[in-house]
């Protein structure tokens, strides 16, 4: 019982953070520059509203709620994929040739995932909203996690000056890595106590972690990084004075 309450508190905290970030983005005039965040947050809040309405109308055990839950889950995953694409686009803004290659890679990934889903659907058509969707979500989450990691490494390799983008990608990485690990753990343990704990605490914590990281990125991190200082650290000046003790 206390686990359910704690889970609810974490989930509601996550919703409040999402709404807060959306309001912050709109109020501070970041909506145009960071349209992808606004899109994702709006969709996420819409999904929460749709799920709450269906739960209230039909109940937890109803097929309508099950269909609504898994369909909106797919929508969220697809929205996150759009987010990853837009971050890639942003990272390649100063390198159009790279964007051509990246666009091809992203298209290939999308086609590959669509192909895998088609074959999975064909072999598990009778259990669409149970077995298939869980596996599909896990695979899509994992693909997005790999893409996010590639994106992060690309920003390091290309020395992208947009510090904020790096922080946003880190937040997205937490959002993907947490649930991907959670779903794999559920699959390995067959839905026992560990799986319950993961569902109750871990996934809402990752959601909150992503939103807090985004909040930090939007409110504290400037879009363009300052040029790093030279190799001489300021601490050395002081250290030279106190080094005599060694």
């Amino acid at each position: 019982m206390s686990g359910i309450i704690a889970s609810d508190v974490l989930s509601y905290a996550g919703y409040i953070l999402e709404a807060g970030l959306l309001v912050y983005l709109l109020a501070r005039g970041h909506a145009k520059r960071l349209w992808e965040l606004v899109f994702y947050l709006t969709l996420s809040l819409g999904v929460i509203t749709a799920r709450s309405y269906t739960l209230h109308q039909y109940g937890l055990a109803s097929t309508q709620y099950g269909s609504c839950y898994w369909t909106t889950d797919l929508l969220l995953v697809l929205a996150a994929f759009v987010l990853v694409i837009s971050f890639f686009r942003r990272a390649c803004s100063e390198n159009p040739e790279m964007w051509q290659h990246v666009r091809f890679l992203l298209g290939t990934v999308l086609v590959a995932i669509a192909g895998i889903s088609y074959f999975s659907l064909a072999s598990h058509g009778d259990r669409f909203f149970s077995y298939f969707i869980v596996e599909f979500s896990q695979n899509l989450y994992f693909a997005s996690l790999v893409l996010t990691t590639l994106l992060y490494l690309m920003t390091l390799k290309m020395e992208v000056s947009d510090e904020r983008l790096g922080m946003l990608v880190c937040g997205l990485g937490i959002e993907f890595a947490g649930p991907a690990a959670g779903l794999a753990l559920i699959y390995l343990n067959g839905g026992n106590e560990i799986a319950r704990l993961v569902g109750f605490y871990f996934v809402p914590l990752c959601d909150a972690g992503m939103i807090l990281t985004w909040f930090y990125a939007v409110s504290r991190v400037p879009e363009t990084a300052k040029v790093p200082r030279g190799s001489v650290q300021p601490g050395r000046v002081l250290a030279e004075e106190s080094i005599s003790r060694f």
């Binding site: 994992f142 790096g166 990485g173 690990a181 794999a184 390995l188 991190v221 300021p234 002081l238 250290a239």
Partner: protein
């Protein structure tokens, strides 16, 4: 089953990777002045000397002594983070994250020492975290307006 195990392992590794990346990005924040210098001087902190010794001298590292010095600096700075020019008397989420990161790095340093691996990088990272704390405290102290109140007046308001 194998695929799920692989996904679990990689996802957990990625999660820790991103958490560390966030901490490192926070630490990369540039301050317009070296706010940590007066804090170091006033509190006789030793991490700059530790960093200097590790960076510039090729002598064997005095592990026990360096750990003690860094840990003492950490305790002092943690106290100052909470109490120096901080009206709320609470750590910010950023402070909490970096305190956790310091502890994890300290744990990693101990493990590396036990396994007889190179510990220089870990020591330098710990010093970088302490410098960041010093800069945050220094910035807060600089930007706090004490107006014309005396030390006793200030203490009476607490």
């Amino acid at each position: 089953m194998v695929l799920a195990g692989l996904i679990l392992t990689l996802s957990v590794a990625m999660l820790f990777f991103y958490l560390q990346a966030i901490c490192l990005r926070i630490l990369r924040r540039e301050f317009d002045h070296d706010y940590f210098l007066p804090i170091v001087n006033a509190n006789r902190l030793e991490f700059p000397a530790v960093r200097k010794a590790v960076e510039e001298f090729d002598a064997p590292i005095d592990y026990a002594r360096f750990c003690m010095m860094l840990n003492c600096d950490f305790l002092a700075l943690r106290y100052l983070l909470k109490n120096a020019a901080n009206e709320k008397r609470r750590y910010s989420p950023q402070d909490r994250l970096l305190i956790l990161y310091f502890r994890m790095t300290f744990l990693a340093l101990s493990v590396r020492h036990l396994l007889r691996l190179d510990v220089k990088a870990s020591i330098l990272r710990l010093a970088a975290i302490l410098q960041f704390f010093g800069n945050v405290i220094g910035l807060r102290v600089t930007s706090t307006r004490f107006q014309d109140i005396s030390a006793s007046d200030y203490l009476l308001t607490l």
